[in-house]
Symmetry: D2
Subunit: 344 residues, 4 copies
């Protein structure tokens, strides 16, 4: 079968690969109908996340079940399914607490040996372990390009809000309007936030945020702190999502947040950083971060997407063939698309 | 000043009453601009809730602050305000836990001696105790008839959902589509419910529920249990709101709800009732009930109404003059209106 | 192997049965070292819960792993383990939410075809499905008779408190001091309840409750409501556990509980019952019930038992041989023991 | 009356001051029976917290009510009371959410003009504003020196645990065993922590922690990370309390905590600090901090102290006369006492 493989920094290639086979009773084989290119794929493309040359990449996918192992009970051959970007065993200490993102046996699609040697989904077929936990049937009437968000980007946007104490009627700020930030905007509104301030520098992204119900705030051309205060009688926002992953974003997040509020870092931090602990402490702010629990959220996310309460359609700005993966990565690297969908 | 007073079952009258005066540092005097007629007013009108003849009734109100006591700091003369239907002291055991609906010194407007001898708001002016807790400024651009809902009916609909473990993506059923039930429908959707089943027998109410984003289900002409199962892959709804207050509604609520789900009785129960404890236990359902914590919710409700996320406009079906209160009660008693607004 | 089998109401018998064999990759075979006789066994003994004659009964057990399937990773042959009274799959809708007691594929040991045809543990050996979820290693230094409580009675006592909003400093009442009620007393104290009122009519049980840190209250010789009020400045208890399962207990529970408090029915209800909904509503009490989520709690329960914070030793009042099971059931039926431990 | 006043860094003095008088209906006048010297008093003593020379200091106190304003309803002249270290209005945005530590009108005893110009309690008498919120009757049988902890140090230790998601059965580590850290140890155990690791370098403090039920770990002579892993099957602790307030403690706290665990900084941070955000993010740790909500906790703390579940007696290592305040501060500054009680 054809598969998109990593070769070297800046180079991916469509190659022939052996078709996957069932190895365990909980496995499924899925024929890929559509697969996305995601910001994390760029980390591999840039060589920041190192994987073995020739490894198949990709982790966003919708497809059709071809075969399942004996122990699989929730999906069957012929089912149209979407999947989560990582697997979980359902039995370890973390899974037993519903913390699927920390499963002791978790494997992430398309991230090489360091994350479980699970071949990616930018291919004609994929092996899916622990299929009952990882796969869900696509609700009737939902398009491939929408469904595919549930197992990765929208699940992450959902986590950005769900991991906070946000309640209906609150005011939320989202810093950074990439796909995850924009999904967080939409989730915040869908979960009852009365106001969402959406902060970025790119006019197109601010426009999408506005269409999603947020008040757009230009990072450099407007006074972000004044906007936050103006929206909250001077207190600051109840919850601030840092969807950037940069110490300056975190500093701003802490400054925008009211006393006893919450800052959630959904953007990735990989190193030590200077944090204004004094302000955080003075204002009794709680700070959270980390990868999303996509398996834990996927049913809710799908239900909301199926009801139209969440709708990532506006984020899909490009469709290409799997055979053009090399060009797709170049396009995405030049930030010419929010989300590219590849079809085999 | 003119005021609507209870005289006898079936008889209310507009009479002259002395203007209220400040009695305590936390008091405010409010000139009433608009006041509602509510289902609980009918309990008085019907004599089921007994109050003294000549007592001023009414507890939904929007107005303008005329004067405040020394200790009031959040509103000032000239402010346009809305108020909650009851007062709370902010200092007793229950208030210190935020359970304002159970304040040991609570007084309810327009309910006579048994609820604190606080004259009602269907009058030209009203005395408001503990004004910092009871009153809020009307957000700019909000009409009287919308604002007035925050302190009573919409606050109660908010409580119907807030008192449950409902989370975004859940499926909710609301039984009984009076004003409170319809508000609960709207709150459930605004808080992220993916699906809301709205159950009643009155076509007009089912239509309003549908306009509020619910799936309408006719109690007798459709199979309600089949609808609940159909919406949830057979499990039953996550949360069911009983906005009726009748053992048959409660029985249905328990039958519609999934294992480990929640039933919330916002409709009033005043007596013993046969409850299917066996089914409740077997399915590990939790059951809650009681009056709404309107003071605790009013800021959130106002923020959501101000953002347009909640909008009770469709419930206001009649405007009349305070002088026509007698006719207004007769109209409301004949169920010819969902909400009547009186203006002095 | 020898096994205790149900024959007819009032009759159990030790018979020869075939040894269990691994049927699935998640199975384990456990050699039983100690097994308990429990109140639910009496329901079978009395014929109230109907099972097939010749079915092996029992569901409390400690033993040694003899063999495991390929997919088992947390226990291995030779491990000393305790187990939960029911199994769960870890993959269905309810398991994915941590509601293991409602697993769609759950099987309960020793309860015949209606609860999954899983042979009981009052035998020399037992087949344990989904071993990673059901079994845990016995912490070093913990006796068989203590460990065995974690998977059933103490897990249920833990649930009786964990399913409520009880917080450190609260006052709790427990109605009914059978083994589960007494465990609930101990859990409430261990979780920080400042006061626990323990209500029963049996002096020996009241004494055990007192030794566990509770204030004993005799149901008929003392004024229970006065005791609850006296302990709470007149408000009523924050949380009341009904460990009886009788409408009179529920009525008392509702009467003992403060406004906005919680009643938890851990005692079984199987039918309709008259409930004082008026009082429940007036006081905004929440009501919960249902079987315990023992798999969800077992790690915490074990940790607390291992630390000595929970200690059911005082409940073990009789040791007998598995061969004397017939007599053991007769003894337990005459209420001559709180817990009988059988050893093969 | 006599009062301990700040004069200059390193110098306090007992001076004559005018007796306080009621200024507001919610005020009370309390005759001080016992007052503590606290770590925060040392910040003033050292000049790090600047207050006006001649200002009365102290904020821990037990006494007898001499007089109350008209609006006070929960205490009366003659009542033996303890008080919280700060006042709250009960009516502002934060108070209405129970966040009393952030009251917009909060005043802290003995901290000069910057914290509300409220004269301290190291004096013969004190004026207490908002007495219904600030004061509580001392439970029968509780000594002055125990009661006094509820309104400051034990309330802060309670907050250190209550502000975290700790649940019964968890493992907790406390870094820094000053009075607050030791109270946190006691609260963690009382709230059901199965294991508490208590980390410090001072043998006497480690011994007290051990007597409170913790496993003592010497910061430099033992391997703290190995201890945390050994207590948790290698995962790390569920909750870590940083009772130091130093970036090195925070770094250790993050390293000791398991994935999806929580770090609570009860020790004060006043400046920017380098935080290992990469590790925090990778392990999805939440971080909280800030001053304790002592008014919000005081009823629970008192109930637990009254039940003997919490008992700070071991922390009181010195009794002195108010007249010897100058010497008391010198003793405390030399760390020769954990808590000094002064009596007028």
């Amino acid at each position: 079968m054809r598969a998109v493989t990593f070769q070297a920094p800046g180079e991916v290639r469509v190659e022939d690969r052996p078709e996957p086979e069932l190895l365990d009773g909980e496995d499924a084989i899925v024929r890929i109908d559509a697969t996305g290119v995601c910001g994390s794929d760029l980390h591999i493309y840039h060589g920041r996340v190192q994987i073995e040359p020739g490894f198949t990449i990709g982790h966003e996918y919708v497809g059709t079940v071809l075969d399942v192992g004996d122990a699989v009970s929730t999906v069957a051959p012929g089912d149209r399914v979407l999947g989560c970007f990582q697997s979980a065993c359902g039995r370890c200490w973390f899974c037993r607490r519903g913390l699927y993102q920390r499963c002791e046996h978790s494997r992430t699609f398309g991230h090489g040996a360091t994350l479980g040697s699970l071949q990616g989904t930018q291919a004609e077929m994929a092996l899916v372990p622990h299929a009952d936990l990882v796969l869900r049937k696509v609700p009737e009437g939902m398009s491939d390009e929408v469904a595919l968000f549930a197992g990765d980007v929208m699940g992450t946007g959902f986590h950005a809000i769900d991991a906070t104490p946000m309640r209906p009627g609150d005011t939320v700020a989202v810093l950074g309007l990439g796909p995850v930030g924009l999904c967080a905007v939409q989730v915040a509104r869908a979960a009852g936030a009365a106001k969402v301030l959406a902060v970025d520098t790119v006019p197109e992204r601010l426009e999408v945020a506005q269409a999603f119900g947020a008040e757009p705030v230009h990072l450099t051309e407007q006074d972000v702190r004044a906007a936050a205060r103006g929206a909250t009688e001077g207190r600051g926002v109840d919850v601030c999502v840092d969807a950037v992953g940069d110490p300056r974003a975190l500093e701003m997040a802490i400054r925008l947040t009211r006393a006893c509020g919450h800052v959630q870092c959904i953007g990735v931090y990989a190193e030590r950083a200077e944090v204004h602990m004094g302000l955080l402490w003075l204002n009794a702010i709680t700070l959270g971060g980390g990868q999303a629990n996509v398996i834990g959220h996927v049913d809710r996310v799908l239900a909301m997407m199926s009801a139209g309460v969440l709708d990532p359609t506006a984020l899909v700005t490009r469709h290409m063939s799997l055979d053009d993966a090399s060009e797709a990565y170049a396009v995405y690297d030049r930030r010419e698309a929010l989300k590219i969908i590849l079809r085999p």
